[in-house]
């Protein structure tokens, strides 16, 4: 009887069905060369672990140390914030490595126009491949009470997924919540249709959630696994880094904001009072 590496490997991890496991155990007893292979496979695991551990001997790069050093971190934030003002890029690590996508100018232009509340949504639809009906109807433009997307933006904590009723089950999840420098709340939503996905940034304005920026990302629920291209994400992240005040909301602050219905009226009143 021959035992494949796959069986042997699964046997090693105790992952074979009882019958298969018994057959493999029997074969190991009766076949010395199979036994040798099995023992070598155990050594292979240790050998691989040893090789991966070799990186422990290499010093942690300074940039990475700084990133996780509390004091260094706040200094870096300051630095990256002033960089943000200069060139709109906050991801210092990718700055020099970032390949500017071919359609970058078009994307940037379409999104730049969408920034600025009250200026209206001037997103170039051409940049968003036709998404599913669910996305078109509920993921774009001004979101008002009664819309399922409004419910998501208004009440769902980050990480909770809304599944559309349409066949194919388009999905939407809030992935980031933050406050802008002028005191508004914004939330980034990942939407997946069956063939197309969107990353969209909404900001609360009075009783509505308004789309501020949106980019198409490849893949969808039909593919099971959706890696968004970072080039596209960079565009959204640039928008976020221009708007964001400090760090994203913690879960606790997010919960508070949801509880208070994203009310920034108090803040606005305070500002007005100040000016009077």
């Amino acid at each position: 009887m021959t035992v494949t590496d796959e069986k042997l490997s699964a046997y090693l991890d105790g992952m074979l069905e009882p019958e298969d496991a018994a057959r493999t155990a029997q074969a190991l007893l009766s076949d010395p060369s199979l036994r040798a292979r099995f023992n070598a496979m155990k050594v292979a695991d240790k050998a691989a672990a040893t090789v991966f551990g070799e990186i422990d001997k290499r010093p942690v790069p300074e940039a990475l140390r700084n990133l996780l050093d509390r004091e260094g971190n706040s200094a870096r934030r300051q630095e990256s914030r002033s960089e943000t003002q200069r060139n709109g890029l906050s991801f210092a690590v990718f700055r020099e490595r970032l390949k500017v996508p071919r359609n970058f100018a078009a994307l940037a232009a379409s999104i730049a126009l969408a920034i600025g509340f009250g200026a209206g949504i001037t997103l170039d639809r051409g940049q968003i491949a036709p998404p599913d009906r669910f996305l078109t109807a509920q993921g774009v433009g001004v979101i008002e009470p009664g819309n399922p997307m409004f419910e998501l933006l208004q009440n769902a904590p980050s990480g909770q997924t809304l599944v559309g009723k349409e066949p194919g089950g388009a999905k939407a999840t809030v992935v980031l919540t933050f406050k802008t420098k002028d005191g508004r709340y914004c939330r980034e939503v990942e939407m997946q249709g069956t063939v197309e996905g969107l990353r969209t940034l909404f900001c609360k304005q009075e009783d509505q959630w308004r789309m501020v920026a949106s980019i198409a990302v490849p893949g969808g629920t039909a593919h099971g696994y959706t890696p968004a291209t970072t080039e596209n994400l960079q565009v959204i992240e640039n928008v976020i880094s221009r708007l964001i005040d400090g760090a994203p909301l913690s879960r606790a602050s997010e919960t508070d904001a949801i509880k208070n219905g994203w009310d920034t009226q108090k803040f606005v009143d305070e500002l007005k009072g100040h000016h009077r």
Binding site: S9, M41, I55, L64, G159, S250, S253
Partner: protein
């Protein structure tokens, strides 16, 4: 708020060695691994509200790490390989150092480097870090059957090297 950020950073510092090893397993290059680790930490800091309480932060970081690797860096591998040859001149492994089982790390390293990224990442997760097939599948975004076959292929290749070495000695 500040306290939460500090806790999160402490968690990242604790996870850093494992994250680096995973990045090394994924990229097969220490230089790429450090770039990737840095990018992962940056992304994790930005997206930290996505980490659910009670979930495994390592698994979460590994997923972020793998996504960035797929998206951002693999395209540049060809360019990086040129630079990589100079890294070989640095003594990453002491030539005289021999593993317990008398096999050179370098030889295993070589066969690991020749494997597809995902095979290396899977053998790291299951064989070196003790993740279950299901957990590894979650991190790698593939079915457990794929984990099983990738793991068997990776183990098989190292095993071949080990056995051929034994036959020679």
């Amino acid at each position: 708020m500040e306290k939460i950020l500090q806790d999160f950073q402490d968690g990242l510092i604790a996870a850093l060695p494992r994250l680096r090893r995973f990045a090394y397993a994924l990229t097969g290059s220490m230089a790429d691994a450090d770039d990737l680790t840095q990018a992962t930490v940056e992304r994790a800091l930005l997206k930290r509200s996505m980490l659910r309480e009670g979930s495994n932060p390592d698994g979460w970081l590994f997923k972020i790490c793998r996504n960035i690797w797929i998206d951002e860096i693999r395209r540049k591998t060809a360019r990086r390989e040129v630079a990589e040859t100079s890294e070989k001149d640095e003594p990453m492994v002491d030539g005289n150092k021999v593993m317990e089982d008398r096999l050179e790390v370098a030889r295993i390293e070589e066969v690991l480097k020749s494997m597809p990224d995902d095979q290396r990442a899977v053998i790291f997760l299951v064989a070196a870090e003790g993740y279950t097939y299901r957990e590894a599948a979650e991190i790698m975004g593939c079915p457990t059957g794929t984990i099983m076959s990738k793991l068997a292929r990776a183990r098989g290749r190292i095993t071949d090297i080990l056995l051929s070495k034994e036959a020679k000695s």
